[in-house]
Symmetry: C2
Subunit: 209 residues, 2 copies
Amino acid sequence: MSPYDYLCDPAAIGRRSFEIIRTECDFSRLTPVLASVAERVVHASGMPDVVSDLRFSPGAAEAGREALLSGAAIVADVRMVAAGVTRSLLPAGNEVLVALDACPPGEALSGTRSAAGMERLSGRIGGAVIAIGNAPTALFRLLEMVAAGAPKPALVLGFPVGFVGAAESKEALVANGLGIPYVALSGRRGGSAMAAAAVNALALGRNAP
Amino acid sequence: MSPYDYLCDPAAIGRRSFEIIRTECDFSRLTPVLASVAERVVHASGMPDVVSDLRFSPGAAEAGREALLSGAAIVADVRMVAAGVTRSLLPAGNEVLVALDACPPGEALSGTRSAAGMERLSGRIGGAVIAIGNAPTALFRLLEMVAAGAPKPALVLGFPVGFVGAAESKEALVANGLGIPYVALSGRRGGSAMAAAAVNALALGRNAP
């Protein structure tokens, strides 16, 4: 006998979680695909109020979903994002690349390793779904690359987190005049779990669970 | 020329981040080791107000630090936590185990895979630093195991996140009459990034960066 009384059936936990989320959040201004992204981001963070901080360009979530269905690669900034992507949900065995891994430690760099890694993946970002869960500099560098003529990603999921550059890089993404589709969380909040949850929602393409 | 003006030197970004955090947060009620955990949790989440939701038993952070110095294993509930642990900070090449990986998918289980995985690691939790960043059921199962006589971990970092069981499992951890040292974030908030940040702070053993 456990001294604790709690739900332990995974299906029941999932159902109850999304029931609570749908009670507490208003997804009515969102398209179905975007609503599924939003509810998974809430689920991953435990914070219903992130919905009001979501920013997105029209059709962005749908473009990301279609790209995944067509086999687009997913480019994450860090391994934690890649670790959170549920491979069994990916509709086309999509490749998952990590910018940080494209730039091994130990090299002398003028900036961050995640930004250098993003640059080294420049041949892979056209048409890809980019999931930034950590590094503002990776997002800034991506915007610079597209501004300089690199092919556009299908979608940028902008969830860098923190106190220096996170809010600013997401503002720059939202203000991008480059035609880059985006879903982003404004402000300091974000993180790998939210970025991975957004990828998983696009891969599933409908409400969870 | 970049159209964006932002800090891109990693050392400068780190310094400025922790300067802002120390301006916005009050760590004065915390011991030095616990303060370093708290500031890294704030850093990982972008949320200064998590400090007031931290719960801890006296000496818990110090016990975790000492365990890592002595070579204790780290047991994470999920791969995202393990992916966030900076191996180069670990003071004794500490092993990092993942509960979910101890229970391969596909088996018929009565509960969650993370809880079953925690149970399969029962021989490894005595003296270990347990880092829960996702699954309330893994934390509940751990408490049940110790209540049933399993050896106590050196420290439990309780950061499960979400709407079903997260707050409750952390309440149970804080209320544990088993003598299990803990650092936990009360409420629905939490996550793999915070759990990994807490491990990294203990491994570093002093203020960042």
